[in-house]
Symmetry: C2
Subunit: 526 residues, 2 copies
Amino acid sequence: MTLHGKLFIGSTLATGNGDTTRPTSPLDNRLLEPGFHQAAETDVDAAMSLAEEAFTAYRRTSGEQRAGFLEAMSNEIMELGDALIDRGHLETGLPKPRLVGERGRTCGQLKMFADLVRDGSWTDARIDTALPDREPLPKPDLRRMLSPLGPVVVFGASNFPLAFSVAGGDTASALAVGCPVVVKAHSAHPGTAELVATAIGKAVAGCGMPPGVFSMLHGRGSVVGIALVKHPLTCAAGFTGSREGGRALFDAAVARPVPIPVFAEMSSLNPVFLLPEALQRRSEAIAEGLTESFTLGVGQFCTKPGLVFGVSGDALTRFQEQLCARVTAAAPATMLHAGICATFHEGLSHARQVSGASVLAESSQAADPGQTHGEPVVMQTDAETFLSQPQLAKEVFGPFTLVVAGQSIEELEKVAAGLEGQLTATLHGTEADLAEAGGLVRILERKAGRLIVNGFPTGVEVCPSMNHGGPYPATTDARFTSVGTAAIQRWARPICYQDFPAELLPAELQDSNPRGVRQLRDGVVS
Amino acid sequence: MTLHGKLFIGSTLATGNGDTTRPTSPLDNRLLEPGFHQAAETDVDAAMSLAEEAFTAYRRTSGEQRAGFLEAMSNEIMELGDALIDRGHLETGLPKPRLVGERGRTCGQLKMFADLVRDGSWTDARIDTALPDREPLPKPDLRRMLSPLGPVVVFGASNFPLAFSVAGGDTASALAVGCPVVVKAHSAHPGTAELVATAIGKAVAGCGMPPGVFSMLHGRGSVVGIALVKHPLTCAAGFTGSREGGRALFDAAVARPVPIPVFAEMSSLNPVFLLPEALQRRSEAIAEGLTESFTLGVGQFCTKPGLVFGVSGDALTRFQEQLCARVTAAAPATMLHAGICATFHEGLSHARQVSGASVLAESSQAADPGQTHGEPVVMQTDAETFLSQPQLAKEVFGPFTLVVAGQSIEELEKVAAGLEGQLTATLHGTEADLAEAGGLVRILERKAGRLIVNGFPTGVEVCPSMNHGGPYPATTDARFTSVGTAAIQRWARPICYQDFPAELLPAELQDSNPRGVRQLRDGVVS
């Protein structure tokens, strides 16, 4: 498969503003072919206008039709075969088995949303029938359901080049609702993006969807990304990336004449609290699990545990020794791109300079800059230093974690209460530990979107109960998740129909319920 | 009942910054007693700190406990008896029967949210049970439910001194979820606000709720209101009022280091489309219903129909004559306060100056400034003028509406497509009209939160299917409603619990389901 490097404006390939950029392989720092065309303002406008045009027809497709489209996307992505895995490996440095797994997750997500919209109950259909004889005033017939917002902009994330990128969860959930999608491809894996966009284009054509339902642009986030968010036809945006990047998009979105929602997932330390008896009894297993979790994917997960809290004492000392042994033995590995690698080493260097914090262990192997290596590092400090040095509470994206020793559970509760918003928070405890941990749990419920007992935060299950979100700065909107079936709610708003004739009502709200969706009828679930 | 004019900081009465202001009765422009103390920054901080303190206990109360509290609020408000109605009439000029009706609605809302939280299904409890033997990775046990955001700020609205004010829908829904509330009382009805706050205080004490669960401040919106929204402990805010006021609060909220949601309901023209055959057959009834709707409450409803569209011709001319007769006979009436009355007359005066628009009819009785009168007025224009004069698409809050004549349905569709976001849009049509109206309905679905056939937008039913919201500038967030059971969703966010022991789980997520809530268990509704 030869890559063309062009922009996808619906079914048309475009060459942008004339500039092209070539990605670099993090495996060996070599420039890759081809050059990828950078979008001009006119491309942004063309893609958004086509999306708006497509919305008229696309919002009226049935759940069944959209389900078929999502499944076709999944099939077309599988049809790309090894070419996708090979290019992904070249552009991201991620091992091929990981990419095969991620492709499975991506297709699984598409199928999950297909099932969800085929079922149709996500529309939260509600019917309150009329009471024409009610006194003093008759009650009208009222019916309400969730409907798609309109064209959505999705930003590909570098750390999941498939599952949070061109056909990732944001795109899948927005298309499932009935929103056309314009993707801003991540500049680190434009070829991978092009392959997936080509697969989506085939699904669009094969399913007879309006071409504007999907477009994809290349270009700089600060230019093309901001222009997409500011475009008057854009109704919402989804982003996963840095805190600075997400906040810039959010700020642009809320300063518009007509503000729009931006779902930006940005930054999280994912604190882990080791309770005394668990540390006493299972320090070895925790050290093993923690090392695996914070080095998984070279530490490039939003849910990487970057902070570990325990109470000072023999058990914590033993745990640190066990952790030390494992981290020393852990090998450096290729990070996603030179920028992330540089930011990782900058973060490390800042942390090392904090007085009162020191390196507990680091990989015994030197990191090779020629292979864009990140090396596993653990640092240690005490709770007092942690509280007084805000630098230590900044996310270091990569295989790094910080062990913080407190004098008591009370001191750790105080530290917990001062944390910023998080995607996750974790407790390790025995039955006896947990019986005493209610206070800490109450604090962490205010801080995080997902709380975990005796596990690790990496590994985000895709299911109805998942919440992948959390208070700022974990995300810009803690009320929504970007993973799991509830992710669909980000792209919808309710519309109420009063005294409508059946013929003008959406199928989901008709008495005959031709799509067989769950309806709340006069307060009773049907 | 003697009014004290003080601030409610939980159960403590405070005197603010030393300044007091006295409200004016719109009935006769006379200053009323007492002076009301204006909040200082320290009062804002005290109220928010107490709210945060109360949240720890209040969020853990059961739905049953909060239901009892909401019902006690309703009872205490009824206990105020005629004193509330009398003071309300004096401060707002609204007729006493209207205030009696609004009190009924207010208490009805409190009871509706009591029923809703007693039932508990609003928490959207989801359970995905573990699959420890799943390959390649075991699936953890995941459970998710909606939880309260934290302290909420509510702004009393002038046009519903009970139902959208101190104990109105925002307060009721926030308290129902488990969020403490700090109310910024509206300066036009501070005595009415004090009476209701006193009733709530009794309910707080009687139900043993933490005192900080409710506070109420007086003060200027641009000072105290903004300070409340900017306070770091504030987690969300609800507002109903002007477009400028709502946007100022929104801008302050999103510029915070930690942005928070502001649900501002602001501005809506509520367009009404009169289709040809309906106009032919029922012009008299439509003229009657429209006059009643746009003059109801002296036109001071957010859902007042302020724009009426029809196709030029004999039927529209006849309708305009019928409307003319009714509006000429309609009497001026007292508006809520001098500021609203002045803004109404300013809006009228601007509309009158638009070339191509003219007065179709106005009340034959002169408006008495000594009674803060607003007089019913209808103007007319054609679609071309409407499209070229943005002034005509500005809300004139009060008993005013504008009839716009188009050359064809196609021209009216073009006008509809250019409208800003609306709370409602209405169609009047016969069966034959509606069979042709699909295109117009599709356009209006993009524009409004509620679509009405053969009715009028005033009169907002409080029920599960209601959506009182809409695209900007109708509200700052079209994804949520401020009326009906779904209003509760504004104050909640999901929290997910992974592999939690039953003892640490909220009751709603336990297998034993002690509160008997609806659970989505492994994808199946129980």
